[in-house]
Symmetry: C2
Subunit: 309 residues, 2 copies
């Protein structure tokens, strides 16, 4: 909990305030055919597959154009529903939200790999750890076995992912070895992965671990627990108006706040049912579309980014 | 599908029409302190843990007295929710609904044991088989490993089960070896298990496999796919009015027909959301309570049965 919370705060602040670190080489925006001043945005829904309420809201948000990219949690119970949808809609920009934790209390999941091959990832009941604490010893080789298993199940069930990212930023924020496990798997599968220049100052091992061919986007914005419900729209309005040139990913979490979602997340409010309903409501609003137009923000997908490599 | 359907039909017919086979030894009813003519009933909700909608409806039905016993599916995603409830309510009559299939399409689960130790139970994607067909080769030793893993996780998470039974009757209807796996595990854990005299004619290996100390109830009644929605109440009214002396278990399936449940079961109507809502509605009705009184039917639980052993 704590790590994820602190991390999210850093991201929110970083995404809002830090300018892109200059680079000598051609920017992603330029490779996409835009000028250096272009403001490009990925509106990205995380956690697809977690519950039916997340799937239903994500599909509605994708089909209405409110979000243009999303990533899927393979170990989750509702993965077959979204895999079926992804297979039937191969143009949708679906990545894999590589998952090594099962953070809830009343509704949980475990590894895709055989449990005895990824022993350090699971608790005494066989689920992924709720959380990683100072005493949790994660073996990077177990993580790598599990990442491969998730990707293999996704392909086997018909998904052709456009990108990879990491649930709760676990593979970015917990040391060089876990990040390198992600890199090895991404390179092997020839998939771009979410990494933002914003994060380099906080985690010094990220930038030196990258290969020359890896794509780095410029910024990321995600809402923090400190934002009160009534200030939700204000947060996003400010973020859109202050959007920096380059490629930014808005990391959002949509779901319908129905009985399933409320029950699944009832032990705490952060990233809970009401939170996700607020994200759904803001990003499917006419106001959001108008703000993008006013600010001359262009939407881009991971599929488009991948083509520039 | 087919096997389960045929089996359910047989049970429904058997439960309604066949008299108890006479035995020389003392009946379960007599051991409970009732006469041989007493009509004793367990109103048993299956599939607890499958979804939140099943858990919520089962808890409501238990707390209102509409059902007096239930059994829990340990491998299912919502198992932690019902385990938490069972731990906080140790007097509730919860058994374990031992599960070896993952019959749905959009929402699935897999084994509790490490997958590579129970290879014959899982499909190419690592979930329990949707169904067992003529070509599915289930290794009884794999089933036994998985049964033990489910029971161990249940105890580890605070459940003290009153009985065992088998999801979709798989351990009764698929040969002597699987039934004997259930027997070994039940004897080792000193738990009574659901077996009804009604079934002996259909599956000749059941009765000879039993030990003298095993408890056999007399009848079971469960509704069949052939019953149309508008005849739901009629089926149960007739079953209650024709209840035979001895111990009968009504095997029912309750859930709220909300978005989660409708989505989880949408590929077919049998045992679907509307079916389970109809069961919930009938058994929580005043009419059901009145019928029990009129027919002088006494409710008994598995915990009470276990005490007579």
């Amino acid at each position: 909990m704590k790590l994820a919370r602190v991390w999210t705060l850093l991201l929110a602040v970083g995404g809002m305030a830090l300018p892109a670190i200059g680079q000598n080489k051609t920017s992603v925006a330029e490779r996409l055919g835009f000028g250096r001043d272009a403001k490009l945005l990925i509106v990205h829904a995380d956690d697809v597959g977690m519950t039916h309420a997340v799937n239903a809201a994500t599909i509605k948000a994708l089909e209405s154009g409110a979000v243009n990219s999303a990533s899927i949690m393979v170990p989750c119970p509702w993965f077959p529903e979204i895999a079926d949808y992804a297979k039937a809609h191969p143009d949708v920009d679906f990545g894999l939200h590589l998952t090594l934790t099962s953070e809830r209390v009343y509704y949980r999941w475990g590894p895709v790999a055989p449990r005895d091959r990824v022993a350090s990832l699971v608790d005494e009941n066989g689920y992924f750890w709720h959380d990683w604490t100072a005493t949790t010893r994660i073996e990077p080789k177990d993580a790598e076995v599990e990442l491969r298993a998730q990707i293999e199940r996704a392909y086997a069930m018909g998904i052709r992912p456009t990108h990879l990212d990491s649930h709760q930023y676990r593979l970015y924020a917990n040391g060089k070895e876990l990040f390198e496990a992600l890199l090895r798997v991404a390179h092997e599968k020839k998939l771009p992965f979410f990494v933002a220049r914003d994060w380099f100052a906080e985690h010094s091992y990220l930038e030196p671990s990258l290969s020359p061919g890896d794509m780095v986007i410029d910024h990321t914005v995600t809402i923090a627990p400190e934002v009160r419900a009534e200030k939700w729209g204000d947060f996003y309005r400010t973020a859109i108006k202050n959007l920096q040139p380059g490629v930014t990913e808005f990391v959002i979490h949509v779901a319908f706040a129905d009985e399933e979602m409320k029950a699944a997340t009832r032990e705490r409010e952060t990233w809970g049912a009401a939170w996700r309903q607020r994200d759904f409501d803001f990003f499917t609003s006419a106001e959001f579309r108008e703000l993008l137009q006013q600010q001359k923000i262009r939407l881009v997908t991971w599929r488009e980014l991948a083509r520039t490599r």
